[in-house]
C-alpha cells in the first residue's frame, strides 16, 4: 500500500488528534508497512523534541506584576462561579 507522507493524518495520529476509525486505519498501515512505521517514529521523535523544547520555555516565562495580579484577584471577588 502506498504511503503518502504529505498527508497531515500522520502527525495527527502521533499527536492523538484522530478519531477511532482514523486511528485504526493508521494502525493497520503501521502494522503492515515498514515505511509507515519509520514515518510515524520519525514524526514522534520530532514532535517529542518540539514539545520538550517549547514546554521548557514556559518555565522561563515572565509573570504578571504583583499589583496586576492583585488587581485581577480583587476583580475576581465580584466574579460568578462556574457551574460544577
Amino acid at each position: 500500500m502506498n504511503i503518502h507522507p504529505d498527508d497531515p493524518k500522520w502527525t495527527a495520529y502521533v499527536l492523538g488528534e484522530l478519531d477511532a476509525d482514523e486511528r485504526a486505519e493508521i494502525e493497520r498501515l503501521v502494522e503492515s508497512s515498514e515505511e509507515a512505521r519509520t514515518l510515524v517514529e520519525e514524526l514522534r521523535v520530532a514532535a517529542g523534541m518540539l514539545r520538550d523544547e517549547l514546554a521548557s520555555q514556559s518555565g522561563r516565562a515572565p509573570a504578571l506584576l504583583a499589583e496586576q495580579r492583585a488587581g485581577v484577584l480583587a476583580a475576581s471577588a465580584g466574579a460568578s462561579a462556574p457551574a460544577r
Binding site: 507522507p5 504529505d6 498527508d7 497531515p8 493524518k9 500522520w10 502527525t11 495527527a12 502521533v14 499527536l15 488528534e17 520519525e42 514524526l43 521523535v45 520530532a46 514532535a47 523534541m49 518540539l50 514539545r51 523544547e53 517549547l54 514546554a55 520555555q57 514556559s58 516565562a61 515572565p62 509573570a63 504578571l64 506584576l65 496586576q68 495580579r69 488587581g71 485581577v72 484577584l73 480583587a74 476583580a75 475576581s76 471577588a77 465580584g78 466574579a79 460568578s80 462561579a81 462556574p82 457551574a83
Partner: protein, 166 residues
Amino acid sequence: MSDTPESRWIVEALELYERPLLRYARWIVRDVECAREIVQETFLRLCRENPARISEHLAQWLFTVCRNLAFDARKKEGRMTPLGDAEIGVEPGLEDKQTVSQILQIVQTLPKNQREVLYLKFQCDLSYKEIAEITKLSVSNVGFLIHTAVRAVRRQLLSEPVRRTQ
C-alpha cells in the same frame, strides 16, 4: 480576599494560564510590559464573563481574547503591518543563537502561521479544534500547518547533527 468559589475559579485560571498567555502575548507584541497589560486585561475580562458560557472552553476563550488584545495593541502602537502580515515569532532575547537550541532555531525559520500553531500545540497543549477557534483557521488547515512544520523540523534534524543546549 475571601476564598470563594468565584475567586478560586479565577485563581485556578491564573495558575494554569498566566505564564502561557504572557509568553503568547509577548511573542506577538515583543514587549513584556505591554504583554503583562494584555494578560491582566484578559483576566479582568474573564472576571466579568458568565462562567457557564465559557468554563467548558476556558483555554480557548483566554487565548482568543489575549490574541485579539495583542494584535489590537500592535496596531495601536503602529508597529504592526496589517493582521494578515503580522510577524509572530522570535521572542525578544531569542535572537542570540548561542542561547537557543537547534530545535528553536529551526522553528524560527518556519513561516509565521506554522510558528503560531506549533506554539499553541506544543507549548500550550491545545487541541487542533481549540487552535482552529483561536486562530480562525479550519481544523484541517491547523492539521496541515502542524504536519508541515513537524516534517520540516524532522527533515532538518535528520540532515544535521542534533546540538541541544540547556
